[in-house]
Symmetry: C2
Subunit: 344 residues, 2 copies
């Protein structure tokens, strides 16, 4: 049935990045896999196969990594609380992916067919809902309502960000501030809450939890800018999802802002038409222009700036166990961005 | 902007049923309206107008009524806890309506355009998500995780029911047991949890909470069977939503089961084609047949049976304050079903 699965087998290497950090987190990630697989039984029998399809183990698992790293304690075993929190944020993330793919009419995600392609958009809406609901149910298994409150609020903010983005599709009317707001809501929010939950559940003091929270937020912004650049410069077999959808679907991202800004008036008008759907997208032309006009450099610099802000949040806490690992993760993101640049 | 609004003004009478019980609940419903309106500020400014459009005050509010009635205490004022719980279940319900309408491509709900018609299906998916997320966030404002756990689990079950229904669309392969399972999940679940929350939050003993829970479940099943009959026999101006969608969209409901069961083979084959989308739906013909072949009576009897089971759950608790009011509500449902029968 799932014949399009390629690198989705649990033993396949993660298709993407952050490999160094993930080696360190192997026991945690294995525990997370087991935990997520164990959740299948909680779903109604009729929908288990569909849920199983979504909870594959081939994702990048960045949000769980943030939970584990921000809650790191040297010489500790695998914390059950962190595994549960990681499962909550990952499941919320999976739910948003299922819903995103409906809207993007995306065909491929994590190197196999999207849920909407596999089960139809109607079931995908409901499947995403069921994943959301179960994620929040898992969040109620902590002693207090704090985790559930944080996650439900984050989820609402993620949706708000996606709505704003949707409403603005095809329009170049968006300001860079609007873009910043959208990615702050739709991406940085879950990164932030992952770091909040990890550091909080590990019992770190409020000041450090606040610092981890800020680190997560800025890293999330940086990550989304990277992801937007990868939509132009990434390789599908490496990234594992359909690329080039932003331009084709009229989604204004930083690379497009920067390109519009630098094109001469006539060409700017032409790209505006492309974004608005008035003519076919020309991704190769746009990539070449982005390289020629220094757009790639600008976007890379924007990622660096946000990574810098993320790192600065941890400045006062060099001795805390998570700090070193979180800094390492932010380094990996910089390497990733740089590797998007075409050779030669 | 919202020019299609007709009976949606807060002062307009509820478009539908349960009027007697609602008069008694006027202070509670007014408090619920105020509470829900107060929640708008919690949503991101960019999506408030959309949320406001969904949180109109013209709904039937049956689930909030169940919360208030099952948590009834004579001579009590309006309980803040019950208002909050009522808001949680109503908001979950509103979210499911927003998503349902996408799938049904419904044009009208509560006498005005559906969210999917007003904002587009993409925004409607996200808007439903944001409502879900905020409902669960409100559920975390209780001292323990119990409310949030109950509501998130119910929500997952509701979605599972909807998925099963979706997967079976257009097929007459469904058994009556499948139908029972679907409505148990998609409708009875929220009715049940409403009664559970009301009686629990009002501090009733476990035995009574269990009884209220069973009452809610059976009433929910009865209500869905009524609603499925109303899809054929209701009047749109009275029910306030697009009717006749079940046959047209191939949704097998009890009236269709019973009709298929009684039609001679050749006509049965024809109706099977209609349900499968192989030929246009003939709702008037089917209604006449339902009346002639006693299908209306059979379905009405099924409603009565479930209402009977609901009432029986309260048999041991005649003296408890909520009991009388819950029984009254179940009476109203029977009146409603009877009133669907065409005159003459």
């Amino acid at each position: 049935m799932y014949g399009t699965q390629s690198s989705a087998a649990p033993t396949a290497p993660k298709p993407h990045a952050f490999a160094g950090v993930f080696t360190m987190l192997a026991p945690q990630m294995a525990a997370l896999d087991r935990f997520l697989e164990g959740q299948l039984a909680a779903f109604e029998p009729e929908i288990r196969a569909m849920v199983d399809y979504c909870i594959d183990t081939s994702g990048k698992r960045i949000r769980p990594a943030l939970v584990f790293l921000s809650g790191w304690r040297e010489a500790d075993g695998v914390s059950e609380d962190l595994v549960r929190a990681a499962a909550v944020v990952e499941m919320v993330h999976l739910a948003t992916l299922v819903h995103d793919d409906i809207m993007d009419s995306a065909e491929v995600r994590r190197n196999r067919r999207t849920a909407t392609r596999e089960f139809g958009p109607t079931s995908a809406v409901l499947l995403g809902d069921a994943l959301f609901a179960h994620a929040l149910h898992l969040a109620t298994h902590f002693p207090t309502t704090e985790v559930c409150a944080a996650v439900s609020e984050s989820t609402r903010r993620v949706c708000a960000g996606e709505i704003v983005q949707t409403l603005r599709r095809g329009s170049t009317d968006l300001t860079p501030a609007d873009y910043q707001r959208i990615i702050d809501l739709k991406t940085a929010e879950l990164f932030r809450v992952s770091c909040f939950l990890g550091s909080r559940l590990a019992g770190y003091e409020d000041g450090y939890v606040g610092a981890a929270d800020r680190f997560g937020r800025h890293l999330g912004i940086a990550y989304q800018i990277y992801d937007d650049l990868a939509d132009f410069f990434g390789r599908e077999d490496k990234i594992g999802k359909t690329l080039g959808t932003d331009l084709a679907s009229g989604k204004m991202t930083l690379p497009l802002f920067a390109l519009l800004d630098r094109l001469p008036p006539r060409e700017k008008a032409e790209l505006t038409l492309e974004i608005g759907g008035g003519r076919p997208a020309q991704p190769s032309l746009r990539m070449r222009q982005m390289l020629d006009l220094g757009v790639f450099d600008t976007v890379e610099a924007a990622v660096r700036e946000e990574v810098g802000a993320a790192r600065a949040a941890l400045n006062e806490w060099p001795g805390h166990a998570p700090t070193r690992h979180m800094l390492l993760l932010s380094d990996v993101l910089l390497t990733q961005v740089a590797s998007l640049r075409p050779v030669g």
